[in-house]
Symmetry: C2
Subunit: 150 residues, 2 copies
């Protein structure tokens, strides 16, 4: 955790983005590191956890981080927490909370509230279109003999 | 939407990943395209929407897609929906639903359920560590004169 916190401080001071750092650990070895790069790379998805997960997956050559743990300097936003589930990480450690993040102006808590609502009640207007045409890909996936599930 | 659906079909058939495609549109022009690349790039975050958002941000040179809309062949998972909020997209169109995705074996709906619970009740065990040390970066961010908010 001290490494994740050090990344959050050092990279914020270097002007790379918000004050967030994360590492992914397997068998007591760091296999991925990340810090927030949203404003320095113009990428709204470049949160510390996402960057660390992507690096760890490159290290292992796998889209699964099963058997690994993530240490993050702040409780993950819903994007990052969902990525942690998709990556099959087994444990999560954090220092600051989502409430602490809200207190310094980050939207984590607001986004948790939005995405917990039915789509029709959310701030971003949503519309379903071409449901019939969209379903073709799903039917073909079901029957695909050589698919790689994830 | 027909373009997003075409990406979902073509790239699934090409073996790039799951049956998902997305595009980002500004002023009736496509500025970013994405399809699911999880299994072909070993990146669990490479969902169609994330890929399309990153490409659109590169096109605009900005971490904000304010004024843009996203068309996705399937209702976004919570990772992608949160990314849509972080990217400040203004409208969302989708074809298949999260229930359709669950029916062909994807975890979107399960992850929505998990991340809606208090952390302590979630499937992935979580532990808060070094809260005192973590807070230093947040205090410094508050006072940072040259910070770029997002």
């Amino acid at each position: 955790m001290r490494r994740a916190i050090a990344l959050s401080l050092d990279m914020m001071r270097a002007g790379r983005g918000g004050p967030f750092g994360a590492i992914v650990v397997k068998d007591n070895q760091i296999i991925g590191e990340g810090y927030n790069k949203v404003t320095s790379t113009q990428d709204p998805t470049a949160h510390a956890e996402i960057v660390a997960i992507r690096e760890a997956c490159r290290t292992l050559g796998s889209f699964s981080l099963s058997g690994c743990e993530i240490y993050t300097s702040c409780e993950p936003c819903p994007m990052c927490l969902s990525a942690i589930y998709w990556a099959r990480l087994e444990r999560l450690y954090f220092a600051n909370t989502r409430t602490d993040a809200a207190a310094i102006g980050f939207d984590d808590e607001k986004i948790y509230k939005e995405i917990g609502k039915p789509l029709a009640d959310q701030r971003i207007p949503t519309t379903q279109l071409l449901a019939e045409e969209g379903t073709a890909a799903f039917r073909e996936w079901e029957d695909k003999a050589d698919k790689v599930p994830y």
